[in-house]
């Protein structure tokens, strides 16, 4: 790595207020290359930090620089930075390919280069089959993937990803996490926000823990991992036969509880090993023909871990 080039993302005493509401306060951070996760409950300031990095919002106080660059000069800055935001909206009436291609043309790429890069990005997120469908017809997971493809299409050095695994099914989550690790191995800077600690554990090199707009902890992933092992993760699976699923999930020792949703169309599962559970779920789908509508981690049980980390071990 070239020592003369700044490879860090730096927040210098950054605060952001929305009127009288605190976004983040007095943030001082230096983020090194690799995968860094911003972790915290909803409203903790993760998205605010990401929007500050990309100048979608301006700090009330302080300075932010990415690889020594300021977003005041977008023509330089956004050649190196890609941001997959949480805004689930798209320009109207475009197909997935047109969406990515059109914005690559806005970057200034030639027709051929934009086409090549668009196809490459769609290939990376495995959306080639749906490339010529209107985005309006995409599922939530496909929309998430096309946003990811758009953010990586120009091959940035720094990728900022706001809850990038939201809406993805277990297979796609695993594949996407593999993609992130691969991008990090290629030398990219990945900043990923999540409120799902188990996902953070699977992909991060380091974490920044946020609460109520303050950075409460930062460092290597190991500390968080140790805490998580003590706290089972709760997952809600919306499916057609929750009873069958409940009977099957106890094949795994790591599953500690299964509870059918009151509407009879879902199952809450508590597990100490989310990876193993997702693999089991896949095999149940294949073997028993279970029809799964969605799979989503449930936040509530993680609050204990957050509280432990935020409160220095008192609450767990």
């Amino acid at each position: 790595m070239d020592k003369s080039v700044d490879h860090t993302i730096v927040f210098e005493d950054v605060s952001k207020f929305y009127g009288e509401i605190l976004g983040v306060n007095r943030v001082n951070l230096t983020i090194e290359p690799g995968i860094t996760s911003l972790v915290g409950p909803n409203g903790s300031g993760k998205t605010t930090l990401m929007n500050l990095m990309t100048a979608l919002i301006r700090p009330t106080r302080g300075r932010v620089s990415v690889l020594g660059l300021r977003a005041d000069h977008p023509e330089i800055f956004f050649r190196k930075v890609g941001y997959c935001s949480q805004f689930d909206s798209f320009p109207r009436a475009l197909t997935g390919f047109q969406f990515i291609y059109s914005y690559l043309r806005v970057h200034g790429y030639s027709k051929q280069a934009a086409q090549d890069l668009a196809w490459k990005a769609l290939h990376r997120v495995e959306l080639l089959d749906a490339a010529h469908l209107k985005i309006g017809a995409y599922s939530k997971g496909m929309r998430q993937r096309v946003r990811l493809a758009q953010a990586i299409a120009h091959e940035p050095v720094v990728m900022i990803l706001d809850e990038p695994l939201n809406g993805l099914d277990p297979m796609a989550r695993a594949e996407t996490i593999r993609l992130f690790r691969q991008l990090a191995a290629e030398g990219l800077h990945l900043i990923i926000s999540s409120h799902i600690l188990h996902e953070v554990d699977m992909m991060s090199d380091s974490v920044i823990l946020l609460n109520n707009g303050y950075v409460v902890a930062e460092g290597e992933i190991q500390g968080v991992r140790d805490e998580m092992e003590e706290h089972p993760m709760q997952i809600l699976i919306r499916c057609d036969r929750p009873g069958l699923l409940a009977a099957r999930v106890f094949e795994q020792d790591s599953v500690v509880e299964a509870k059918i949703h009151k509407d009879k169309h879902g199952l809450f599962v508590k597990t100490r090993d989310a990876d193993a559970f997702y693999l089991l779920l896949n095999s149940i789908v294949v073997e028993d023909g279970l029809s799964v509508e969605s799979v989503a981690p449930v936040d509530d049980d993680l609050n204990a871990v957050y509280q432990y980390l935020i409160g220095g071990g008192e609450a767990a």
């Binding site: 990309t54 023509e75 800055f77 806005v106 200034g108 691969q182």
Partner: protein, 288 residues
Amino acid sequence: MSASTEVITEMKPSSSRPWSLWATQIAAILRLEVRKNFIGKRALLIYLLAATPVLLMAALSAQISWEQSRNNNIGEINIIFANLYEGLILRTIVFFGSAWIFMNLFRGEVVDRSLHYYFLSPVRREVLVCGKYLSGLVASFVLFTISTAGSLLFLYIGLGAAGVNYLGDGAGKRQALAYLGITALGCVGYGAAFLVIGLFFRNPIIPALLAYGWEFINFLLPPVLKKISIIHYLHSLSPVPVPEGPFAMVAEPTPAYISIPGLLIVTAAVLVLASFQIRRMQINYGGE
């Protein structure tokens, strides 16, 4: 999701020379925006607006040819069109059509929550303003000049071959071209004004209505205040003088060699103002 093994050749943006890059980026923005301006639910209102004068003129034309075509002469039709053009097409259709098209260039994207895609691209925000403004001009030029031309044609068709010949003839052709030019200038001027209004105001309807009121009472204003408007300059260019009524404050029309460059200079100044504003703009969809 393995890395693609495709061989991709020239991956640099098209040029390192800023003007060339900006031209490429403006063209790309134009393609995206023109598509948005012509397709989608928002475009329906514009099509309806643009069709209104054509349909009205067609109805009027039918009435003229049915009732009294033999008695009508070109001079009378010229005055009828001049009045309808200024009252209906220029002051209403072009005004509100431009308001709708240009205010939605940025405000519409904020409502749709898609403006961030531009803000996250390596494109200077001034270039974005330029590309979006040009796309608005393309849409408004196409729709409202066709609307003006259609209105002219349908009205004069009421006179039969004489009317059609008149429009194809020297004087009639010059008159028609003047109306098309005024429509285009109206799009240029009102477009810039509404683009900047859309950037400064979260709810641009109220300032748009205030602007409409100001333009509407222009004939009542003293000469100095008349000049702080767009309609005054467009009115001055009318090929057929239109009386402003008994209560009007009479002012000398501004000659074309002042009003046309004047409008263009004011438009450029307004676009510079828009560029300053957009550089400060933040994305906060939740606060909209």
